[in-house]
């Protein structure tokens, strides 16, 4: 294997990232909420030796960025909890990383900490967390505890273009950064070896190895320690999707991976520079933030080409497919060449978004991965070890509270 192997994960979202994906012949729209569907997808990804699957989630009915109307009945307008999907899959997979999305704006960091830690136990060291921030008034109304102002599409476009977000957006990300900090502190709040099981003194734990985190922030405070002992990886992998400098800074403050969305035209270079600059602004030290480029893929199959498949999907959807990430439609060999080219331009890995989950995931496993292997840039078997090991992150993570 090459000294700098290419890292490859997939992002799973319902029937696929194209809004008409559910109507494709191989898609299983009635199964989208069943364990069997997700087990099949993740098993396919594991057959392709991929680093991880991430599972999208939100606390709102899925909708397109430029939704035509709120009452569409021809789209997948439902989803189930991603963390529980990951937990359901954990015992029936062995190697692949599991990175559910958990929205932190409304959910307690204490709960997130113990649920991801527990996923790390039930998956035996393969857990991650994609942090999602919710800024929509609709999601806030589901909780009724705070009011959020709707940011219009125009405001959002202006903000992304200028990099200057309204104050409340800064607050949301500051709050999310605090939540990530709390979750990480809770993961460290039990030192390794805190469970001593000392029969002679009847002490189950050494209380000197448990730590109050005593977090006091602008938005909330959390005392700790965690109820769940430190997870197998020490620190499960934290990831965030980011589209601009403010969010690159958020990722640089607390994440291990950042998922970015370079365009095909510009390539990853400009974004890599922005991420690096953001990391410098927030004085990130230690491990560098790993940059993964997101690409939506429509791959050639035996029956039809990627571009033809995309055209057919667009026709079903009644709309040209639009995406925040770059779109690739073509052969696996061409995609392999693109990934190899981009991986020399500052990205650490790729997260492919299958346009149609069932079909494109099969093509990634059966066509793209062999193509990458022929180029000598992708593993031919899984090594033993955790998700951190798979991603090339340090597997020994110092505990901030360790005294010895």
């Amino acid at each position: 294997m090459a000294p700098n192997p290419l890292h490859l994960g997939v992002a799973l979202d319902g029937a696929g990232w194209h809004p008409a994906a559910w109507r494709e012949p191989n898609s299983r729209p009635a199964d989208l909420f069943s364990a069997g569907y997700w087990t099949d997808l993740v098993t396919t990804a594991q057959r392709g030796l991929l680093d991880f699957v991430s599972i999208e989630d939100s606390l709102a009915i899925p909708e397109e960025r430029h939704a035509r109307t709120d009452d569409a009945v021809d789209r997948v307008r439902a989803r189930i909890d991603a963390n529980l999907i990951a937990a359901r899959i954990a015992p029936v997979t062995r190697h692949i990383g599991l990175i559910p999305t958990v929205t932190t704006t409304h959910t307690e960091p204490f709960h997130i900490s113990k649920s991801i830690a527990t996923l790390d136990y039930t998956s035996r060291g393969r857990a991650g967390w994609q942090v999602r921030v919710s800024g929509t008034p609709g999601e806030a109304a589901h909780f009724g505890r705070r009011e959020l102002r709707a940011i219009t599409a125009t405001e959002l476009a202006e903000a992304v273009a200028s990099g200057t977000f309204p104050g409340e957006v800064h607050d949301l990300f500051d709050e999310a950064a605090d939540a990530v900090e709390v979750v990480r502190r809770l993961w460290d709040s039990w030192e390794d070896g805190a469970e001593i099981h000392d029969v002679a003194t009847r002490r189950f734990i050494d209380r000197d190895k448990l730590h109050y985190i005593d977090f006091e922030g602008r938005f909330f405070s959390v005392r700790g320690p965690s109820i769940t002992p430190r997870p197998p990886q020490g620190q499960p992998v934290v990831a965030a999707l980011a589209h601009g400098p403010l969010i690159y800074e958020f990722a640089a403050r607390g994440a291990d991976l950042v998922f970015v969305t370079p365009t095909r035209e510009a390539g990853p270079g400009p974004i890599v520079e922005q991420v690096t600059a953001a990391a410098a602004r927030v004085d990130r030290t230690g491990e560098p933030l790993r940059i993964y480029a997101d690409i939506v893929v429509f791959l050639d199959t035996d029956e039809t080409t990627g571009p033809q498949r995309l055209a057919r999907l667009n026709e079903h959807a009644g709309d040209e497919f639009a995406s925040d990430a770059g779109i690739f439609a073509g052969s696996a060999d061409e995609l392999a060449e693109l990934l190899i080219e981009w991986s020399g331009r500052g990205v650490d890995g790729f997260r492919l978004r299958p346009g149609v989950a069932v079909d494109d995931l099969a093509a990634i496993t059966d066509r793209l991965v062999p193509a990458l292997q022929r180029h000598g840039v992708f593993r031919t078997s899984y090594p033993d070890g955790s998700l951190r090991a798979l991603l090339g992150l340090p597997t020994t993570v110092p505990n901030r509270y360790a005294t010895a």
Binding site: A87, R124, P225
Partner: protein, 453 residues
């Protein structure tokens, strides 16, 4: 022909944070590793149990301001463990305690409905509320609830969660590729709930789950608690392990359920119990006493009494008499983080003194004697008989069983007692239903139309 024998409902309980689990036993396994949970669940399913039950902890216990180090204190997240157990079992119900004070209805409804989908209809929720500011320290929105609001909060949470579950009809999910229709109606999942605790509205993301409404479990001893559970729960934990107290409770709950407009059989009554088996009755009793003697060390006994006295009793001799001082209910709690509430500390103290005097017991011995309710002790035949006759005499509809030995303790029960219950016709030999509701004999609520009819 006689009517079919009343079926015994069985739940398997994996002991968490307490002094009942013999963690120091050389054969004891981990309380955290998934393999322990997996073994218990698989074994319970082999024994045709109805469900696996997990308690919840949201803060580490403290004694006098220090983290408690004498017993097991760490545990994994309930929902995550249950979803993972769904992967290694097929029929077993998956029940978890989840606190309604530190979770919002939207996320509770969503996680439970998701678990129900991912397990093909096996999710159950033990609804608890907390009014404990100590636990609230781990939650950003605090969480202190006025004790008077406890049932208001619980009732509104349940009503809000049900409103969310009911926001989807089973028929709303069409997913027809040919017509391009995914939803039957554009507003599937639309909900609004307005109460004193919650003011929420929007769209629920989870289609109606296989059980329609996951199974609801409750505990309640006070008249208010009994009424609440009888009106709302599918099953209620009984605090009584001995007839005839248990039969009184059983009759009372069923009557309250009927008064609330439900059928008596729509609510199941389940005490928790530990079990100890032996080849002879004498051996089982000896084993039981040996385990109790090991579980309740002098230090454990003092700590259990401190919860009642709410005083530092560390100066007392465990092998001496029961402390002669009065409890101090007004002081700040010496033990924090336990859902253990004494209604009347003075009465409990008086009872312990009387028992100690009558039976000539030391402080530690009186704890051993008084702090275990309704253990099932005997030969497998005797234990099968105890369980079956308790249920046939309407002491309960079944039991939630926990072993002192995690995770292997349940094996002995499944290997030795389950076949005897099956021989008596009191326990199924194969699962018959497809959902937990089916297996428990509860009404189907797959669609709100059917449920309201």
């Amino acid at each position: 022909m006689s009517t079919p024998r009343k079926q015994v409902i069985l739940g398997a309980y994996l002991g968490g944070v307490n002094h009942h689990t013999a963690w120091w036993h050389p054969a004891a396994g981990s309380q955290i590793d998934f393999s322990s949970f997996e073994h218990t669940a698989r074994t319970a399913e082999r024994g045709k149990f109805d469900f696996f039950f997990l308690a919840e902890g949201l803060i580490l216990r403290e004694r006098a301001g220090q983290i408690f180090d004498q017993d097991i204190i760490g545990r994994p997240d309930t929902f995550t463990v249950l979803a993972s157990i769904a992967a290694v079992t097929e029929h077993l119900g998956l029940a978890g305690t989840i606190n309604a004070t530190f979770n919002e209805p939207y996320e509770l409804a969503r996680q439970l409905a998701s678990l129900d989908h991912l397990s093909d209809g096996r999710a159950a929720w033990n609804v608890v509320t907390s009014f404990d500011a100590f636990t609230g320290q781990n939650f950003r929105r605090g969480g202190f609830l006025d004790p008077a609001d406890r049932y208001v909060r619980a009732e509104e949470t349940l009503n809000a969660v049900r409103a969310l579950w009911d926001s989807w009809e089973a028929e709303d999910l069409v997913a027809d590729k040919d017509s391009g229709r995914f939803l039957a109606r554009p507003d599937a999942g639309a909900f609004a709930f307005h109460g004193s605790q919650f003011d929420i509205s929007g769209r629920f993301t989870v289609p109606r789950s296989p059980q329609g409404r996951p199974v609801i479990l409750q505990a309640g001893v006070s008249p208010q608690g009994r009424d609440f559970a009888a009106a709302n729960a599918d099953a209620i934990f009984s605090p009584f392990g001995k007839l005839p107290e248990a039969a009184d409770f059983y009759r009372d709950i069923k009557a309250r359920a009927v008064a609330a407009g439900r059928a008596a059989e729509d609510i199941k009554i389940l005490p928790s119990a530990s079990f100890v088996l032996g080849d002879t009755e004498a051996e089982a009793i000896e084993k039981f006493h040996a385990i109790r003697n090991e579980q309740v060390t002098g230090q454990t006994a003092l700590i259990l009494l401190e919860q009642i006295w709410n005083r530092d009793l560390s100066g007392y001799d465990p092998e001496g008499p029961v402390p002669d001082i009065d409890p101090d209910p007004a002081a700040p709690p010496i033990i924090q983080g336990r859902a253990f509430v004494h209604q009347d500390r003075f009465a409990t103290v008086e009872r312990l003194r009387q028992v100690a005097e009558a039976k000539q017991l030391t402080l530690r011995e009186v704890v051993i004697d008084q702090f275990e309710r309704g253990p099932l002790v005997g030969t497998p035949t005797q234990v099968a008989e105890q369980i079956d006759s308790f249920v046939q005499n309407n002491g309960s509809d079944g039991f939630i069983l926990g072993s002192h030995l995690v995770p292997w303790g349940i094996d002995e029960f499944v290997d030795k007692v389950v076949p005897l219950l099956q021989d008596r016709g009191a326990l199924r030999t194969e699962y018959t239903g497809t959902t937990l509701r089916d297996n428990l004999g509860l009404p189907n609520v797959r669609s709100t139309v059917a449920a309201d009819a």
